[in-house]
């Protein structure tokens, strides 16, 4: 299958390992990965902060770049959620019927959805001998309704010990620009998340979105919390061989 990778601007800039991992993983499963180089940002930050016109411009651009592809895969749950749940709203907000139609034709899948629902695999042949906790991000949980797909994928990873994260479904306090506009509340929220993560004694905290992971990971790093954060894709790509992508 020919898969177009939407890496998401956040990953493009800060987490190149995640895009590499998706590529390596999908190719290992026998699929062809293409990277439309004109891709930039899905417009999520503009939309959720209230900048409807700018969000619409970016949504139009996204639809242009990815419109022709049968399958678009992204390792960002919140971007997948933006395209699927928000683009129609953005189009209506700015009165752009053409964008609404174009958005409807986009086939954007979050990685774990693509693996489990489209490819029908849960065992992707990964090896990752570590203690891992999984944080279901709000967009994964409540917009995409990923359910236990990421957990099924993680359970099939050889050597991986999956530990339960208490209060897992509670927001980490990221919320995009919320983390800046309401920094104090945001920090109060991530403090509790960090407490729960550390309580699991996991080596690695994993999620399907690097936005939330940057937030929790940033707090863990500041506190020298002794827990690494890794995107789900990076764990699924790991085979124990040095070539496998991991976060440098």
């Amino acid at each position: 299958m020919r898969v177009a990778l939407f890496v998401a601007c956040f990953n493009d800039a800060l987490f190149p390992g995640t895009g590499r991992a998706v590529t390596v993983l999908l190719e290992r499963l026998g699929h062809e990965v293409v990277f439309p180089p004109g891709q930039t940002c899905c417009g999520q930050m503009h939309w959720t902060t209230g900048y409807q016109r700018e969000a619409a411009d970016l949504a139009r651009r996204f639809a242009d770049v990815f419109g022709g592809h049968d399958a678009v895969v992204t390792p960002s749950a919140s971007c997948a959620a933006t395209v699927r749940a928000a683009y129609a709203r953005i189009a209506r907000a700015v009165g752009d019927a053409e964008l609404e139609r174009a958005a409807d034709g986009l086939a954007v899948h979050e990685l774990s959805e693509f693996l489990v629902d489209v490819l029908g695999v849960t065992d992707v042949g990964a090896y990752f001998p570590h203690r891992v906790a999984y944080h279901p991000t709000c967009h994964s949980l409540r917009t995409l309704r990923l359910g236990d797909r990421p957990l099924r994928l993680l359970r099939a990873v050889r050597g991986l010990e999956l530990v339960e994260l208490p209060a897992a479904e509670e927001c980490c306090g990221f919320g995009g620009t919320f983390a800046l506009k309401n920094a104090d509340v945001s920090v109060a929220m991530v403090a509790d998340k960090v407490r729960h993560v550390r309580g699991t004694c996991a080596d690695v905290l994993c999620a399907a979105d690097n936005g939330c992971l940057a937030h929790i990971g940033g707090a863990l790093s500041r506190l020298r919390g002794g827990v690494r954060v890794m995107h789900l894709a990076e764990i699924l790509a790991a085979t124990g061989a040095p070539a496998a992508a991991g976060r440098p």
Binding site: V34, F35, Y51, R89, G173, F178, V187
Partner: protein, 495 residues
């Protein structure tokens, strides 16, 4: 409809009570530092979430019920004017009097006037969700009327317990610090000097005090959760039963309710009575459900006044996207699951009420011109927990984003662009073309490496400094994803 106001023209105090309100983030900072508040909020949230989940979960048709609730509320709001006229007619025919208050000041004036007309210097209040909205207690105090609140939560707050109760106070909070509660209740004039700190004794002390007040009350002010248009019946749900006493014992009963509390028929009420208690407190039915219709000679109050409060509600109705917010039945379930509210409480949201729906309704009604009101739609991570529990399926995150759009549009009209607008525009411009975007990625990575030590950025300049107050940022490794992709031995497909 009868004009309610006795004062002819509007005086300068007309309009929403002008309370100076700080921006959410600033008010939240104060709340975050209040450890007692944090503990109480956390305990309430944990208990109420558990209870709500159990109560909703035990019904096989909860989702169908929510859908029915949504439909009833939408239909009511669509024909609100007709239902309100029907309500006025039913209430009047049953012997009550209906007064219309266009805004908070008029409502406060009406209630004060009605109390004065009785010649009494004291009133009891019970379950008045609109009390804070209309500044009821202050207005009555100013008129020289002594107010005795009969909600336990309000009583505790008055004794110095700090936290003002939410729109719908949590059930008696005996899971909280008992020693503190004992200390507060011991301040009651009629409390036994050796009051022990076990829950039963504390409840008894509070009950004795409140009962004495209630039994001697001649005038009561209460709220209503619903008003049945067909019969003119007012419906009040509570945990404690004080409202039940307040609506039966006094000679004069003044009920203040928002115009959105109207329900067409008793069969509509049946649906909402299943949704509300389970969502609010996790009860199958509220411990005390009072329904009363007009006045009955020789039984209950001899005079019944219903003050119907608009205070911006019809303006919200006119906003096609915002209208859904008026479906709210004030169960507070959204607040109880909200991770922001759990850490800040009601106060930072302003007098119309807190939690996610407060962050929607206040800017919808008051507009977004003031910095404080404009900050409310941003007081959310958009995590979506509220939308999942709302018994009438209000898409609260969607409404928050809608309002954020209104905030930004209003700022665009200002002659000098805000720094945020400049930043957002330039970000969108950068993202609008591949060359610009890739150049920005490269220069961003260079800057990041300059700012980082040991692979981590510990301090960022400007607005981004808010991030690094408490969080690191990883420094992007050289090359980035695009560099890796281009250097790949077999990079098939588009390049």
């Amino acid at each position: 409809m009868t004009g309610g106001s006795s004062a002819g023209g509007r005086d300068s105090s007309a309009g929403p009570v002008p309370l100076p309100m700080p921006k959410f983030a600033a008010a939240a900072r104060t709340a975050l530092a209040d450890t007692g508040l944090r503990r109480d909020l956390r305990a309430d949230a944990a208990a109420l979430r558990r209870r709500r989940e159990a109560a909703a979960g035990e019904l096989g048709d909860w989702q169908e019920l929510r859908e029915a609730g949504r439909a009833i509320r939408d239909e009511t709001l669509l024909n609100l004017d007709a239902y309100l006229e029907r309500l006025e007619k039913s209430v009047t025919e049953a012997g009550g009097a209906v007064h219309w208050a266009a805004d908070a000041a008029e409502a406060a004036r009406l209630v004060t006037g009605l109390v004065r007309a009785t010649g009494q210097g004291e009133v009891v209040t019970a379950a008045v969700p609109a009390a804070r909205e209309i500044g009821l207690h202050d207005a009555l105090a100013e008129a020289g009327v002594t107010v005795h609140p009969t909600d336990l939560a309000e009583l505790v707050a008055r004794l110095g317990g700090g936290r003002r109760p939410a729109a719908r106070p949590a059930p008696p909070a005996f899971h909280r610090d008992r020693a503190r509660l004992r200390e507060l209740l011991a301040r009651l004039p009629d409390a036994p000097p050796d009051l022990p700190d076990d829950p039963a004794a504390l409840a008894a002390a509070a009950r004795d005090h409140l009962r004495r007040r209630l039994l001697s009350a001649r005038v009561a002010v209460c709220g209503a959760d619903f008003m049945v248009a067909d019969t003119g019946t007012l419906v009040l749900l509570e945990s404690e039963g004080n409202g039940r006493a307040a609506v039966t014992v006094p000679d004069t009963l003044i009920c203040v309710a928002g115009i959105d509390a109207v329900v067409p028929t008793w069969s509509d009420l049946e649906v909402l009575l299943q949704l509300l208690p389970r969502s609010a407190t996790g009860d199958r039915m509220s411990p005390a459900v009072s329904t009363w219709t007009g006045v009955t000679p020789g039984d209950g109050p001899r005079e019944l006044h219903l003050v119907l409060l608009d205070n911006g509600r019809t303006a919200v109705l006119a906003d096609e996207a915002g209208r859904a917010a008026l479906r709210c039945v004030r169960c507070s379930a959204c607040a109880h699951v909200c991770p922001v509210y759990e850490r800040t409480g009601d106060e930072p949201y302003g007098p119309r009420g807190g939690g996610p729906i407060g962050a929607v309704v206040t800017p919808l009604v008051e507009g977004v011109e003031s910095a404080a009101h404009a900050s409310l739609p941003y007081a959310s991570t958009l995590c979506g927990a509220c939308a999942d529990v709302c018994p009438v399926k209000i898409d609260i995150p969607g409404l928050l984003v809608h309002l954020r759009g209104a905030v930004v549009e209003s700022r665009r009209r200002r002659p000098v662009p805000t720094p945020e607008l400049v930043m957002m525009r330039s970000a969108a411009w950068t993202m609008g073309e591949q060359g610009r975007y890739e150049a920005a990625l490269r220069s961003g990575a260079r800057w990041a490496r300059l700012l980082s030590r040991g692979g981590r950025i510990r301090r960022l300049p400007g607005l981004l400094g808010k991030w690094t107050e408490a969080r690191d940022l990883p420094a992007p490794p050289a090359g980035g994803f695009r560099g890796w992709w281009r250097a790949r031995p077999r990079s098939g497909g588009a390049r």
